[in-house]
Amino acid sequence: MQFLDQYDVLAVAARVLRCSSEDAVRRTNLDAVDQVLADVRRTSGLVEAAAVLLSGLIRARAFEGANRVVTVAVVLQFVAANQADLRLEPVEEWDDLLDRLAADSATPVEVADFIRARLSPDRVTAEDLQEHLRVELLLEDEVANLRASHAPGGEELWRGEGMFEKFSDRARRVVVLAQVEARQLQHNFIGTEHLLLGLIEEGQGLAAKALSGDPATGWRPAGLGITAPAVRDLVVEIIGRGAHPTSGTVPFTPRAKSTLEHAYQEVRDLGDDVLDTEHLLLGLLSDGEGVAAQILMKLGADLDEVRRKVIEWRGHKQRVESAVTGFLADDAGTAWTTFGRRHHLLTELSAVLEENERLHEQVAELRALLRRHNIEPDA
């Protein structure tokens, strides 16, 4: 989950209040915001996090003069950062909830239910991506060469619309984010380094967990602790920033295209149906001389170790997905009211199952530790 920090919140406040950053700082109860953001970080799902954010800011009256509108805008920004949107209509229902929150008469469950009923995922479709990247134009000149140089199965990949059809929503978002990164650095190409940043910034996929998860955490499998700012700094060090803002289409470099080819190969080799973030990361790792691989090594990562970690996480993810599929099969009679509700219930269920799995792994480690000290855990 992408969390907001205090500066994000103040930037939203300044924009909504149409005032300077300094005025926004003066008009905001920084302690209250700090406390609420800390509470949000202790939550486990988007619904709960948005509910805590909304409740906390309203109750604390964190923004002088326009608390309600700024708070709702902050919550909108938070859910949007997590690829979702909130329905604000009918506004009267929001007014009613905000009244009750201000009077401290709304329970956390009520607030969470209210948010859940209005939350919808903001899906990136293949068509969106196609339009965003204008891939047909981008690759028009490349198709003939690639068709000539790749196996028959690979041809379809570069055929405009067919290119991203097998991408999961998260993998599509990674490509969009890679383009955003390239533009921000004023690079007129999308290289492996931008794909690496896209994988980290996406934040929720398996690749992001394997790359940027905290290595010091007690959870297993632990991540490598590689952050987007650290990678960005090295991109600037190795390549530098572009001299001019990038306009028009941003083409993939040959190495980035090769990475996508390798990612497809990983999908085939692993017997998967969908190209997800882990396949993109495995694709990046396959080219040890690419900028992304160089950056990972500069940040102390061993590429084989990263690959092992990704495979480890993948097994973990498959067990969780299998449990969710089992749950759905058992619960086939349930009438799901909306796609949004179903999506978020599944997300939360996955989170619970992931935590359960991690706890089991921790227990196993503790038992092994006890045995190493000649203590029988079940005695």
Partner: protein
């Protein structure tokens, strides 16, 4: 609240940063909180210039402009 009025804020800073703030404040003859507030505002400015953040925010505010406008004001 009037623009000129101030409020006390609690800042949790690591000792090194606190010392640097104290130094800047001493050299410039200003209060630590004044320097801290200015530093926070500079970081907020930086965030407002982040293109991805701003684009997301603008999209949100445009999409929900009418609803946000009709929200009841604070008591």
């Amino acid at each position: 609240m009037a623009k000129e009025s101030t409020k006390n804020i609690l800042l949790r800073l690591d000792p090194e940063l606190a010392e640097r703030l104290q130094t800047v404040a001493s050299v410039e003859g200003r209060s630590v909180s004044d320097v801290a507030r200015e530093a926070i505002a500079a970081l907020v400015d930086q965030r407002r210039q982040d293109r991805r953040f701003s684009r997301l925010l603008d999209e949100n505010l445009v999409r929900h402009e009418e609803s946000l406008r009709r929200l009841r004001g604070d008591d």
